[in-house]
Every structure is written in structure tokens, then in C-alpha cells.
């Protein structure tokens, strides 16, 4: 098992293994997505307060979870890069950033879409949405810094530090924004809070969350393979690959 994991660290093996996984990941993703969407849109009952317009949470909540999860993966990669200098960690880090940013944007957009029928405005300065917005800036910072540094080996080590610093700050920012929100909201419950969730809504939610996880792997592997080819274009294994 350990040997397999170690093999994954070598570029040509990662390329091959990731390639093999792609069709499986694609199928599993589609299955989970269909199940989750069906469960969320058709099977789950309407909310007694919000009617049918609450159903956007089946996209909004998993997106928000993914946006945070991917940043944690990036921070973990950052540690691996700085301590062990693993090339694959560098690739995963830079490939994850746009995917994470997209999920964050999706969470913000769906949050906004949820707000409109509910409270009549496209944007509310809710604690969660505001935290997501700041998280988006953190992602854009990572992508921007990587793009701005010419030497890409230096660039990946720089964003490794940035990802770690961001990770340390995310709980602080989250807590600060929640505190800020509670000041000005008064006694009302935070708008996106659900007291306790019925299993008929929970199951599609979890299915969607799982679907998004699989999607992340799918998008990540595709992106990593492309990045790997780009970075190693002068090495032997890539030349052999092209020759085939």
C-alpha cells in the first residue's frame, strides 16, 4: 500500500494512474449527481417555511463545503512542498486553486440566488456569505501570486507559504465575521441556519457533497495531467508518450 502511494509521487506513474481513474470518476460523479439532484428536487419535501426555493441548498451547501475543503488540501500540499519538496504536491496545489475558487464562486452565486426570492435582495451581509467572499479573495490571491512570479518553481513555493498562512487565518476570519454579524443582526437566527435537518433532505445533501468531491478529483486529475505534461515536457517519459 505504502509502495503504491510512493509510486504516486513519481510523475509518469501519477500520469498513468490518474488517467486510468478518469473514466471511473466520471461515471461515479454522474451517478451521484443524478441521485442527489433527483433526491433534492423531487423526493425531498418542500420546506414548511421557505417552500420550494430552499432547494438551492443542495448546490449551495456542498459548494461551500468544497471551497473550504479544497483550501485545506492546498494548505496540506503547502506543508508537503516546503518540508519534502514533492513535485506532485506542487502540481496538486496549483491545479486545486482554480477549482476551489470556482466552488467558492458557485457558493456565492447560489447564495445570492437563494437570497433574492427569500429577502428580495441579491446580496445580504450574512456571516457565511461574507466569509465565502473573503475566501474567494484568498483563492484569487493564490492564483494571482502564482501568475505574477515568473520562475514557476519559486512561484509554487511562494503560494505554498501563502496557502499555509491563509489556512491559519481562515478560522480567525470566520470567527471574526460571525462575531461581527451577530453584533448587527441582533437576536435573529442567522439566515442560512437550519435548526435540525430531516433525513429526506440530509441524504440528497450528502449525495451532492459526495458528487462534488468526486468532481473535484475528476477535475483535479485532468488538470494535474495537463500541468504535468507542461512542466515535464523536456523529460524522457513525456517524449516517449508523445512518440507512441
Amino acid at each position: 500500500m505504502f509502495l503504491w502511494f510512493h509510486k504516486l509521487g513519481s510523475p509518469p506513474h501519477f500520469y498513468r494512474i490518474a488517467g486510468n481513474w478518469l473514466p471511473w470518476l466520471g461515471t461515479i460523479f454522474l451517478l451521484l449527481l443524478v441521485a442527489g439532484v433527483y433526491g433534492g428536487l423531487v423526493l425531498a419535501p418542500p420546506d414548511y417555511q421557505q417552500g420550494d426555493s430552499y432547494r438551492i441548498i443542495f448546490i449551495h451547501v456542498p459548494s461551500a463545503w468544497m471551497s473550504l475543503f479544497i483550501y485545506m488540501v492546498m494548505a496540506a500540499c503547502g506543508v508537503v512542498i516546503l518540508v519534502w519538496r514533492m513535485k506532485i504536491a506542487e502540481i496538486v496545489l496549483i491545479s486545486s486553486a482554480p477549482i476551489g475558487a470556482s466552488f467558492t464562486f458557485l457558493a456565492l452565486a447560489t447564495g445570492s440566488l437563494w437570497g433574492k426570492p427569500m429577502w428580495g435582495t441579491w446580496w445580504v451581509w450574512d456571516a457565511r456569505l461574507t466569509s465565502e467572499l473573503i475566501l474567494l479573495f484568498l483563492y484569487l490571491g493564490v492564483i494571482g501570486l502564482h501568475g505574477a512570479i515568473e520562475d514557476k518553481r519559486v512561484a509554487t513555493r511562494a503560494i505554498a507559504i501563502l496557502a499555509i498562512v491563509g489556512m491559519v487565518n481562515i478560522p480567525i476570519i470566520h470567527y471574526s465575521v460571525e462575531w461581527w454579524n451577530s453584533l448587527h443582526q441582533g437576536a435573529t437566527v442567522t439566515k442560512f441556519d437550519k435548526p435540525s435537518i430531516h433525513w429526506s433532505m440530509l441524504i440528497p445533501l450528502l449525495l451532492m457533497a459526495l458528487a462534488f468531491q468526486v468532481y473535484y478529483l475528476l477535475a483535479l486529475f485532468q488538470s494535474c495531467r495537463a500541468e504535468l505534461l507542461q512542466r515535464e515536457r523536456n523529460s524522457k517519459w513525456v517524449e516517449e508518450l508523445i512518440a507512441k
Binding site: L82, I134, F137, L138, L140, G141, G144, L145, A148, I149, V154, R157, A158, I161, L162, I164, V165, G166, V168, N169, I172, I173, Y175, S176, V177, W179, W180, L183
Partner: protein
């Protein structure tokens, strides 16, 4: 001969940076002027309604302080980068985080401290009540060093980049949000006669966290940027 002790080296570098700042006085006046200007813009923009201004004064002053701090960050490492002194500091016998801390201290004394002195005047101009002004002073005293410390990580990552200033803003502003939230809230609470100990303790916590972690992160970032 033996090399200097850590504290001696710290003080030496601190004094060097203060001397350099003093001999470049004009350059370092800019952030302060910027601070004053931004605060002045708000009454012009939203009308000189005393109650309104007094209500949002904490926010105005703190956002202006934040922007002024960001504007001044470049000067921490820019000059040393340009003339090769940064290489020499990286190769020094002393630990880099200590040297970074010395430079950040000097930076705060030159850029943050003037903001501290001028803030009561600006608060008065915006009609902030007296009891809030004391808390304003306290938050700027504790908060602006955090801005310098956390900002130094951002500058360390972008030192030497051509359009470094723009990227720097995106990197650093999210990290500044917690300080802004608790500082502004403290002053508002004080204006309303409420207790501010929670906010002040949070700011102190940020300060101690920044003091212990930022120099290490900034030193690591400098090594990476210069390689």
C-alpha cells in the same frame, strides 16, 4: 572577535532602519498624508452631517488606517532588495526572523506611530465622542503593529515583483479583516458606553499571534522570493 548577541543585532538593525527612514523623510510622510486625505474625503462624499459622521467615524478612520498601512508596506524590503542588502541580510549570522522583526518594528515606528498621533485630531474632526477617542487610540496602538507584521508576510512574498503593489493588496486585505472588525466594533461600543474588553483582548491576541508567527513566515517567504 565574536559576533553580536541577538538583542544587540536586533537593536542595531532597528536603529539602521530608523536612520534610513529619517534620511528619507519625504518618502515616509506619504502614508500619513494619505491617511489624512482619505479621512477628509468622506465628509466631502457623504455630506457633513454631524450625527452620521460621528456614527461611522470609527469605520472611516480604521479603513483609512488600513489603506495607509498597505500603502506603506512596500518600503519594508524594497530598498534592501534594490541595492543587494537583502541578500546580505539573508546571509547574516543572525536568524532571519529576528532581523525581519527588527525591520517591521522600525517600519511601525515610522509609519504606524504617526497615525497613532494624528488619529485623535481626525476623530475630533469627525465628531467622535470623547469616551470613544480613548478606545480609538488604544485600538490603533494595538492594531497597527498587527497590520505591519501581517503585511510584512505579503511584502516578503511580492518583493521584487514588477506589479507587486496590486497583488499585495489582494493578498493582505483578507488577512486584515479580523483586526478591522474588532477595532471598529470596540470604538463603536465605547461610543455607546458599552464594555470593550472582549474586543481589546481579541486585538491583543492577534498582536501576540502576529508577533510570534509573522516574522517566521516572512523570513521563509523572503528566502523563497530571493531564490
Amino acid at each position: 572577535m565574536t559576533r553580536l548577541s541577538l538583542s544587540q543585532a536586533f537593536i542595531y538593525l532597528l536603529r539602521r532602519d530608523l536612520t534610513l527612514a529619517f534620511r528619507n523623510r519625504a518618502e515616509f510622510a506619504n502614508p500619513l498624508l494619505f491617511f489624512i486625505m482619505v479621512v477628509t474625503l468622506f465628509p466631502l462624499a457623504i455630506g457633513a452631517v454631524p450625527e452620521l459622521l460621528a456614527r461611522i467615524a470609527p469605520g472611516i478612520i480604521w479603513v483609512a488606517a488600513l489603506l495607509a498601512a498597505m500603502l506603506s508596506l512596500e518600503s519594508i524590503f524594497r530598498s534592501d532588495f534594490d541595492d543587494g542588502s537583502l541578500d546580505q541580510l539573508l546571509m547574516s549570522a543572525h536568524p532571519m526572523p529576528l532581523l525581519v522583526l527588527a525591520k517591521v518594528c522600525a517600519h511601525w515606528l515610522v509609519t504606524g506611530f504617526p497615525l497613532l498621533i494624528i488619529s485623535p485630531i481626525l476623530a475630533e474632526m469627525l465628531g467622535m465622542p470623547q469616551q470613544a477617542q480613548g478606545v480609538l487610540f488604544l485600538t490603533i496602538l494595538i492594531g497597527t503593529p498587527v497590520l505591519s507584521l501581517v503585511g510584512s508576510i505579503g511584502v516578503a512574498l511580492t518583493v521584487g515583483l514588477p506589479k507587486g503593489g496590486i497583488i499585495l493588496s489582494i493578498l493582505v486585505l483578507p488577512l486584515y479583516v479580523p483586526v478591522l472588525i474588532f477595532a471598529a466594533s470596540a470604538i463603536e461600543a465605547a461610543a455607546g458606553g458599552l464594555d470593550v474588553s472582549a474586543q481589546i483582548y481579541m486585538l491583543l491576541a492577534f498582536l501576540f499571534l502576529a508577533l510570534s508567527l509573522s516574522p517566521v513566515a516572512a523570513a521563509a517567504a523572503l528566502k523563497i522570493s530571493m531564490s
